[in-house]
Amino acid sequence: MSEKILEIKNLSIEYKTSSATVEAVKNVSFDVKKGETFVIVGRSGSGKSTLACALMDLTEIDGGKIKSGNIFYRGKDLLKMPFEEKRVLKGAKISMIFQDPQSYLNPVVKVGKQISESFTVHNPQASKDEIKKRVSEALKKVKLDDTERIFNSYPHQLSGGQKQRILISMAIMNNPEILIADEPTTGLDASIQKQILDLISELKNTLGLTLIMITHNMRIARKYSDTMAVMHNGEIVESGNTEGIFRNPKDEYTKLLINN
């Protein structure tokens, strides 16, 4: 339980817009231990999503730039790795699910192809039967039935809950060690939100995942996390054992969040 799987050291990320440079993440450091649920809380614009994207090497695609710092995964710095080496980890050892499932599925590619791609990209030699087996296993894990129809559908033909389950199935396809969930319930109905959160936490236990969850919701943070970090204006203002923070918040901003 105490092995550090992820160490973030002095990470700073900036975004350039036409008028100004914004430092979205400022000198952030924290550790994630293997098997725990680590929650990052903060309001929108606090830099928590930017931080999550950096763990997945998505910063540059987003138009941002990592200014300084390190992200150690099992002692190796992800930021110094060549693209090909990182590519093998992404979706296999570390994977991510996003907020708003609608926009994170390709609207013009069949869902089946998008799901099986998660497997084939890391197993290019896999046979058809093998692919089929793995994909249906993954769909079973996220409790999707009617798989035949879903497989041949396009994203717009499915419900929000189904789409988020599909994104989750893609993320757990290769039995990753770390799962990053960035506001996984945004854009979903209230009743579905709980189902998705319970599913994620169940998968965490059955698959032995390390879960990093991003949320703005303090109740979710308290209910699901072991450790938490509070972000405000790009900085981590307080971090540590979740129950400890809730019982005895030290930072003024944390107090404000808890009392709301």
Binding site: C53, M56, D57, L58, I61, D62, G63, R87, V88, L89, K90, G91, A92, S95, M96, F98, D100, S103, Y104, L105, N106, P107, V108, V109, E117, S118, V121, H122, Y154, H156, Q157, L167, M170
Partner: protein, 323 residues
Amino acid sequence: MFQYLIKRLLYSIPIIIGITVITFAVMYFTPGKPVDTMMDFNPNITSEAKDRLVKLYGLDKPVHEQYWNWFKRVIVLDFGNSFKDGRPASEKIIERIPATILLNILSIILMLIVAVPVGIYSAVRKYSLFDRILTVIVFICFSAPVFWVALMLMIVFGLWLGWLPISGLTSFDFNELSFFAKTWDLASHLILPVIVSTLGSFAVLSRYIRSGMLDVLKQDYIKTAYSKGLSERQVIFNHALKNALLPLITIIGLSIPGLIGGSFIIETVFSYPGMGRLGFDAIMARDYPVIMGIGVISAFLTLLGNIVADILYAVADPRIRYR
């Protein structure tokens, strides 16, 4: 899908009526009425004969009645007989259409072959040297007068190098040539006109593709694709390309009037026997039936092109196909 089709077709009815109204209005309000022009062709017509002509064409009737009579004939593609040689205008136009369509389809194909890879590449390597050079070329293509580019190419390839013929569609001895010689003869006559008519639209299209691709690359599902561990190549070919190229169908549809408009000048420069040159000659001779015919037919062709583009789009985009 079916409903969409019906809606699309119903929507084009007012457009068809609008096209005929505008064509009719242009003719109606121009000084020098058709009958006067006819008299220019044949100065021996007496004023009595002129009155008869006026009656024949119904020019003494009120405007809306004139329009209605004309409209009824236009619907069956009867534009009257050419003032020049008395042949039906529609016949004269229809025999020229294949050459114009050939020219334009070849231009569209060449435009796609060049513009798609170029646009995609300069989006993926945004602000690279290639992208910058390309931007300059695109701006030059977009700013150059087509007929001047035609002249320059004629000077270089036709006169200095002597590689390509500079006018017409076939050589004088075309009928005596073997099959392969015929094919080459046709092709060599087409090369310059096709290149010239492609230039301007290539510039616009590659810009569209570039900005479309840049837009797609910022989408969320691209992040999903990268986070699955796909390589840049796989992300572009499996996820970005289809999204970026879908709007192309509509853009090609919209570029049809530009291409047809361009053929008036290009066909004239290259003495190419298509509808554009016929139209230009008819305008110079004030051959009303042919002019009106070309106006209506090219607008119809454009409308048809747009409808086909919309249907193709609906077939290609699953968001419309399965609604």
